[in-house]
Amino acid sequence: MHTTNPHLKALDQLQAARKRYQELEWRLKFLETVGSEKAQEPTEQQIMDWYQSLCRQHLN
């Protein structure tokens, strides 16, 4: 269901961004090698920026 409320729309987007990031994280866990170097967890804003850039690339 699509909403016109900008706050709900932003929440929807944030939820979609988190879901997409979780998918990436899930796959990276298969590829990573355990080491001393710990990757820093991205902030919510970074996840949102990343998601929007992916959407721009794929137009969905």
């Binding site: 997409r20 298969f30 090698t33 794929h58």
Partner: protein
């Protein structure tokens, strides 16, 4: 009982994935467009009930989905070193990974699919046959050609960077010549001084130390290109160097 073999997703069935082909097509539409459906499926209909059984796997499709631009995950097989590398937006430098790890990712993707279906899909092949070592190895073997990258992929001028690749020395050398040296008439740059600063730059980047001869092989042509001066033997004092080049403070 009526049985049909199918490769494509039947029209009007795209909304809610109820078969393995629909499931993978909804997740990987561009991969499906390029390499075809994930499986050859057998659809059995008896007394109004339908059951779908994936009976053969499309290796090309599964090799291709190991890399997925929809989530910003890039996996390549770097042919010059026969090595897989991966990266993502949150880790912009490519890291090496193994065939075994890619096989685990492939098995994980199939397991996730198998868990998403109800009793209308026969998940035996998804869980057992297609997740076997033999099939997993075949998928990753196929990925070596589908995800192949040539030597230009990590070349010093390419935007793709990887952890501790051999070309890192040349990248640092280019940076060294561009940012640490300048043209200055009357100045003399001794090779010993240049080498000492260059080694410091490598150390700062946690790159392995290099031999003086390797440093010369990389830096001498770059300085010639940048400042149009050659390495000279006639400077007197301690060793060789360049005229008209100055070392800037690092």
């Amino acid at each position: 009982m009526q049985t049909t073999l199918e490769l494509n997703v039947a029209e009007g069935e795209e909304d809610e994935p109820t078969t393995p082909n629909q499931y993978f097509q909804s997740l990987f539409p561009s991969h499906t467009a390029q390499f075809g459906s994930a499986f050859l499926q057998l659809r059995e209909t008896e007394a109004g009930k339908t059951r779908v059984n994936p009976i053969s796997i499309n290796l090309d499709f599964f090799a291709s989905i190991l890399s997925d631009s929809r989530i910003g995950l890039s996996v390549v097989y770097f042919e010059p070193e026969m090595q897989f590398y991966y990266n993502s937006a949150f880790q912009p430098v490519f890291k090496p990974t193994s065939s075994e790890k890619l096989q685990s990712l492939y098995r994980g993707l199939l397991m996730k699919a198998a868990q998403s279906f109800t009793k209308d899909v026969n998940i035996l092949n998804l869980f057992v046959e297609f997740r076997s070592d033999k099939t997993s190895k075949a998928v990753v073997q196929r990925a070596k050609s589908i995800l192949a990258a040539d030597s230009s992929f990590f070349s010093p001028t390419s935007p793709n960077q990887r952890i501790r690749g051999v070309e890192m020395v040349e990248r640092v050398a280019r940076k060294f010549v561009d940012e640490v040296l300048s043209s200055e008439p009357g100045q003399i740059l001794r090779i010993n001084d240049a080498f000492a600063v260059f080694r410091q730059l490598l150390k700062e980047r946690e790159l392995p130390d290099i031999k003086r001869s390797d440093f010369k092989a990389v830096v001498v042509p770059l300085i010639k290109d940048q400042f149009n001066v050659c390495l000279r033997n006639d400077l007197g004092g301690s060793g060789r160097g360049w005229k008209g080049v100055k070392l800037l403070p690092v």
